[in-house]
Symmetry: C2
Subunit: 189 residues, 2 copies
Amino acid sequence: MGSTGVGLREVAERSGFSKSSHFHHFSSKEELYFEVLSRVHARIEKSLAPVFEAESDPALQLRSWVEALIDALAEHQTTARLLLRGLFEDNDWVPERIPARAQAESTLDSIPAKARGIVQRGVVEGVYRNVSVPHTLQSLVGATVYHFASGEIGEALLGGSIFSSEEVQRRKQEMTQLFDFGLARKSKS
Amino acid sequence: MGSTGVGLREVAERSGFSKSSHFHHFSSKEELYFEVLSRVHARIEKSLAPVFEAESDPALQLRSWVEALIDALAEHQTTARLLLRGLFEDNDWVPERIPARAQAESTLDSIPAKARGIVQRGVVEGVYRNVSVPHTLQSLVGATVYHFASGEIGEALLGGSIFSSEEVQRRKQEMTQLFDFGLARKSKS
DNA sequence: GTCTATAGTGAGATAGAC
DNA sequence: GTCTATCTCACTATAGAC
């Protein structure tokens, strides 16, 4: 399938190995693809792990989570796009023959699953409004991943590179403030 | 190019016409693809048009914009995915031979451009914090488009269909509240 | 304007020498 | 483990009958 977005020709050019060499390490192109995807997912999960080491105020912890996610997506220009590409996969694959696929999926699923706990706790402890936890996660992930995948469209809007350190810093600030204020319980005052 | 995500074989099956028949209406598969994409963009733009007919309070107008965008994306299950797919196109195409491409792009660009005015006005008039206008647009678009493109991942999180009328309604509520509170200037109290 | 048949191209994958 | 050569197949596109 060509639905990975990259052909073996291009893989061969960039890796320096011939096309056929890859078939001695992976039984198919799809397996290679999922191996790559799996490592990307694992890297992101690893970047987020420190956030969960200690429980603190949910709002602070969510802020750390957002900043860690942004750092992970900003590290390589391809990461966010690979992540989104994963959503569009035609699930016509035969799962048995691609063990790396299950690995990639379970790691991916664990990312929002762990963040879920933070938002949940924020609602229960009353620091957040009574927001929908899944919708909030969708907004968090969507606003972050889309931004770093938006390419030319995003750069046209920003008027500069999405990945410059100033803009990455700016993104963290805008995101954390948006969700700090947007999720906070209204003060009774 | 197969980067459209769909082959002519599948197009033929679903349209009821043979593969070759399409070449009498479109000079290439790419032109057909951009014709489809262009109509999707035009439909979204048309859905958003009423929002700009009268200037009102920026916060109310942005709320209308979000709700209209959500309605447009919720109408067909493929819309949000088509939109995102557009971001990933390898721009190896020869622009001269595909007039529909320019059409699709200009319509797409006009969507955030028009919304930009609303957020801008909100900041200038002081109903919003001094947020970054482009980052806010990225968050708005990202949180909306990603959600309706998220497919199985989103449904696993929600525990049900993304496109059910209850969940669409819920999405509107969560999004409008998030941005109402998230962008609002802090009251001095 | 639609069809069948087919050409041309490039993809993923295999065989076998080194 | 990597290579060259080759196979097979699906895809885009064309030719020409109806």
